[in-house]
Amino acid sequence: MSAQHPPARRNNLLTLVARYREAGIAIFILILAVLVTLRAPAFLTLNNFRDILLNISILSIVALAQTMVIITKGIDLSVGSIIGLVAMMVAFVFKASPEFPVVLSLPLGMLLGATLGAFNGLIISYGRVPPIIATLGTLSIYRGLVFFYSQGTWINSFELPAAFKQLSKGTPLGLPNMVIIAILFALAVYYFLNHTRTGRNIYAVGSNAEAAQMAGIPRQRIIFLVYVLTGLAAGLAAVLWVSRFESAQTNTALGFELQTVAASVVGGVSISGGVGTVPGVLLGALLLGMIDNSLPLLRISPFWQLALQGLLILTAVVVDNLILRRSQRRGRR
């Protein structure tokens, strides 16, 4: 490779943001943390930080899976309903047989979730239905199944075995199990996306499906796979959800899909496909979690909480578009 210097490029703010997207979010989080702490010192306590981590564990798991889908230019709107359905099913298993081994609940949830995800994947990759339509359909179907399955009843805390309730909250390793599971899951996704063939193929299909196909990548199989994985992650999240909140209700995780999309997009995942990183999404989830946590501390009304979340998403998307337009302009040069 010859040591040729590229033509001088203006290093303006946008280029920097494009290159160091994660750093940008991290800085924003730090600034926010300082500001909140100045007003409400309770924010900067170990306990509160632990709370935040607990709150974003489930979100991170599902958002990371959602990220894989968004990288392929898709979206999975059914994750909330998958969580609802799997949560109900797992809760029923424990209600019916309280001796069911707690450890097995995790693989059981993942299997159920993956099955539901596989159905999404089939419709989208082989049935060629646009992802937003397909998963909008299964969002309703799966939520409908929750009612059908539970006959509208709830499973309450007293119906669940104590050992299962401790699954998410126990701290044998210092941190709550749930946080550890989320960290392990994030590491797994990180290695999957960056160090496996399939992971590389996901990015390739997302940023240029035609070129990927010409390079021999089985495009449909990749698309199918990301929905299966998202179902799996939602199933895992469902088990943790029941264990943590000690109940399964017909409206469990209702609307949760939007939060997962929000965390991805705020974390720098591009809705036009091909771009997104695990650290970015984790920071996105952390930012959302911090806002949820700090606004009550600052005694700001929950209305602002939602509005602020919306504002963040819009900002992220606008920044994204500016970057995209800029790189396209450069590509044409």
Partner: protein, 502 residues
């Protein structure tokens, strides 16, 4: 002789520093059909886009009815009475014929509502005055290409266009439809309209055009009366270039048949394409854009498998239904459109180069980063890719370097049969020479190369044999010694009925 209605004087147009039109002049009289002729890339389309205000010239003047004008945007030229009908038709498929004719200018009642009665009445009048028979309420998507063209022409005339530019209007019409179109064109000519007519079918030009202007490599060559110029002379004006020894294909020993294609057909795209490609040989595929050459390459590579026909790879019958199978059989395809089909622009060079061969850089699905990086680095170095480092994103490179990356990527698959689709289109002279030298070297190593190229000197300089395609069929085959630019151009432009040389 009437005064010209439209005159272009010494028009120059540059795209990012490269001159695509150099002082081209063109004059159009009312009541004439004026053909614009030239090879691919001669500048016809750019000239048309200057006339229609899509591009603004960097030099030269446009005169309309003797007045100097400047078109800053397409609607400015439209208002001045210049309308273009492009190859890709631009109707609204879900609107009906009448709505399409008046789209954007629908008559309204005083209350601002659409005045449907006036709309249909005026559309009816217009069509009957042109002798067209179309159902006004038919949706555009249900019309044939020929009928859609009629609607476009009607739309142009409804805004009183006096200058009509028709870019390859006959390319997808049947013979009867062409006759119908020509009847209409003659009628417009009698009414005093001026028509710019672009077509590669020389026979048609003799039938319809009054004068012809020939462009070559972005420069003006000549304007002649159609009746006073022979076919051979026209072709000579179009190609009239001398072939320098820029393209060094070394002599190689031609080996066994590497790829054999028999009666390959993709319904509606190409039919009965047959050829043999041997080891160490470069087979050039000439023809005009849209002759079906790229489709043949894609079919062989399994991107869009053929509907019938037979492919043999190294003596064994092969059924290739996906690119992966083609890669496994030792084929590689460097596609025509780098940005669209060749590269993953946001990925770095390593990931781009390793993409088709990820399987061999991974164990049980896990990537071996070092192996991948070393292989990519080696491939990039061999191709002399100019980049800051191998982690640079593909989209940040120049066109020539991007092409080198695509080549590096496909050569790293160690192919035995290499298909190159327009390997040097739009890249700088230096890189071009490097790619030609590389092709020669690869052929010397026994690689079988199929090269699709629209550039005659390249085809003639690089190929051992040359195949010419025209409208989805192979119309001629020449050896290196036999081929002349005139013969190739003639085979690429003749109508099929006029002579199937195979």
């Amino acid at each position: 002789m009437s005064e010209p209605i439209l005159e272009l004087k010494e028009i120059t147009k540059r795209f990012s520093g490269v001159e695509v039109l150099h002082q081209v002049s063109f004059s159009l009289r009312p009541g004439e059909v004026h053909a614009l002729l030239g090879e691919n890339g001669a500048g016809k389309s750019t000239l048309v886009k200057v006339m229609t205000g899509v591009h603004q010239p960097d030099g030269g003047e446009i005169h309309l009815n003797g007045q100097r004008v400047e078109f800053n945007a397409p609607h400015a030229s439209l208002q001045a009475g210049i309308a273009a009908i492009y190859q890709e038709l631009s109707l609204f498929p879900d609107l009906n014929v009448a709505e399409n004719i008046f789209v954007g200018r629908q008559p309204t009642t005083t209350g601002g509502r659409l005045d449907w009665r006036t709309l249909y009445r005026e559309a009816e009048q217009l069509l009957s005055s042109l002798g067209m028979h179309l159902d006004l309420k038919q949706k555009a998507r249900n019309l044939s290409i020929a009928q859609q063209q009629m609607v476009e022409i009607a739309r142009a005339l409804s805004i009183n266009a006096r200058i009509l530019i028709m870019d390859e209007p006959t390319s997808s019409l049947t013979l009867t439809e062409v006759a119908e179109l020509f009847r209409l064109v003659r009628r417009l000519r009698e009414d005093g309209a001026a028509i710019v007519f672009i077509s590669h079918r020389l026979e048609e030009l003799y039938e319809i055009a009054d004068r012809v202007t020939v462009l070559r490599d972005g420069t003006y060559v000549e304007t002649r009366e159609m009746a006073q110029i022979s076919r051979d002379e026209l072709i000579r004006l179009m190609v009239g270039r001398t072939i320098s020894n820029l393209f060094p294909k070394q002599e190689t020993t031609i080996g066994d048949v590497a790829l054999k294609v028999e009666n390959l057909t993709l319904d509606g795209v190409f039919e009965n394409v047959s050829f043999e490609l041997r080891q160490g040989e470069i087979l050039g595929m000439a023809g005009l854009v849209g002759a079906g050459r790229t489709d043949v390459a894609r079919a062989i590579f399994g991107v869009e498998p053929p509907t019938s026909g037979r492919i043999e790879v190294e003596g064994k019958a092969a059924s290739i239904t996906s690119p992966q199978q083609a890669i496994d059989l030792g084929l590689a395809l460097v596609p025509e459109d780098r940005q669209l089909h060749g590269l993953i622009p946001p990925m770095n060079l390593v990931a781009n180069i390793s993409l088709p061969m990820l399987a061999s850089y991974s164990r049980r699905g896990w990537l071996r980063a070092k192996q991948e990086r070393d292989a990519a680095f080696q491939a990039a170095q061999q191709m002399e890719v100019r980049a800051n480092n191998i982690w640079q994103r593909a989209r940040e490179l120049s066109g020539g370097n991007q092409q080198k990356v695509v080549l590096a990527k496909w050569l790293s698959t160690k192919p035995r049969i290499l298909i190159l689709d327009e390997p040097t289109r739009g890249i700088d002279v230096g890189t071009k020479a490097a790619i030609h030298a590389l092709m020669s070297e690869l052929a010397g190593q026994g690689l079988a190369i199929l090269m699709i190229s629209s550039e005659l000197p390249e085809v003639m300089g690089m190929s051992d044999r040359i195949l010419v395609m025209r409208e989805g069929r192979v119309t001629a085959q020449f050896t290196r010694g036999e081929a002349t630019q005139e013969k190739i151009m003639s085979a690429a432009t003749q109508t099929i009925a006029a002579g199937e040389t195979r």
